[in-house]
């Protein structure tokens, strides 16, 4: 269910192309990027939900991906560097929309809390996450449900 949701949200909310990629090495992805090192900063966002079930959904994405998605959403021309607040805004909306779409697709009643965003440490691996490529850049997603 998560892969389909990510593909749909990337397409509809961010006008981007996404695919699940298992077995990819994050360090290889970083080495293969032609982006400036500063653009390889990672951003994180986490959304908690309550309702029929409670838990959270977390995303990690690179700042250059957030910039690309944000520029498209703003309707501005490519190459414009968004300020950090707007890059975090992209990460937060990604988590917010993904979480809502996933829970709606699962048929659960829910209510989301506002997303919390941060500049994240570079993940050493994708362990514990599901790895996607969005416009050929990594997006890591994981969700957790609180046990009763």
């Amino acid at each position: 269910m998560l892969p389909d949701t990510v593909v749909d949200v990337a397409d509809q909310a961010f006008f981007a192309w996404a695919e699940r990629r298992d077995g990819l090495d994050l360090s290889e992805l970083a080495r293969g990027s032609d982006a400036a090192p500063a653009a390889l900063r990672w951003l994180g966002a986490r959304v908690e939900f309550t309702g029929a079930i409670a838990g959270s959904l977390e995303v990690l994405l690179t700042a250059d991906l957030a910039d690309e998605l944000g520029v498209v959403m703003m309707g501005e021309t490519a190459g414009h560097d968004l300020p950090e607040a707007q890059l975090k805004d992209v990460a937060g909306e990604m988590a917010n929309i993904l979480c809502g779409a996933l829970l709606r697709r699962a048929g659960h009643e829910f209510r989301l809390k506002p997303p919390e965003t941060c500049v994240a440490a570079t993940p050493s691996s994708a362990d514990g996450y599901t790895l996607f490529l969005v416009n050929d850049r990594p997006l890591l997603v994981r969700s957790s449900v609180q046990q009763e």
């Binding site: 749909d8 949200v9 509809q12 909310a13 309702g51 944000g70 959403m73 703003m74 309707g75 607040a85 707007q86 805004d89 992209v90 937060g92 909306e93 917010n96 929309i97 979480c99 809502g100 779409a101 829970l103 709606r104 659960h108 009643e109 829910f110 209510r111 989301l112 809390k113 506002p114």
Partner: protein
């Protein structure tokens, strides 16, 4: 707008995300609905300040916002006679409780993610 006049619709977009406000603004601008001024607010409190001072026909609001949520905003609007005819559209990913918004006089509910056509359709439904 509902009286068939050629008045342009003044919109208020309420969302804590600057990017989402920009996206809704663009989608609204691409619709063929005659629009006047498009105002923006980052939360319910800012929205109320604008409603107090500007002539606004329709509000498009997120629900999940800091400071004052969309639910709280809709509750205040619903209690005030001045805004009895204000058209209300919810755009949100934040809840499965779309039916619950009915008690707030919500005309339309648009789920995130949405395609631009959803905003156009919501605007058209207000005419």
């Amino acid at each position: 707008m509902r009286d068939g006049s050629d008045k342009r619709l003044n919109l208020l977009i309420v969302d804590d995300s600057v990017l989402m406000r920009a996206l809704v603004r663009r989608a609204a601008s691409l619709s063929n609905v005659p629009l006047g001024t498009i105002y923006e607010a980052g939360n319910g409190e800012e929205a109320l300040r604008l409603l107090e001072t500007a002539s606004i026909d329709a509000v498009f609001t997120d629900l999940n916002m800091p400071v004052m949520t969309g639910f709280e905003l809709l509750e205040v609007i619903g209690r005030d006679e001045r805004w009895r005819n204000l058209l209300r559209v919810v755009i949100s990913a934040g809840t499965s409780a779309a039916p619950g918004t009915g008690s707030f006089g919500v005309t339309r509910f648009v789920e995130k993610p949405f395609r631009p056509e959803a905003i156009r359709d919501a605007l058209a439904s207000l005419l």
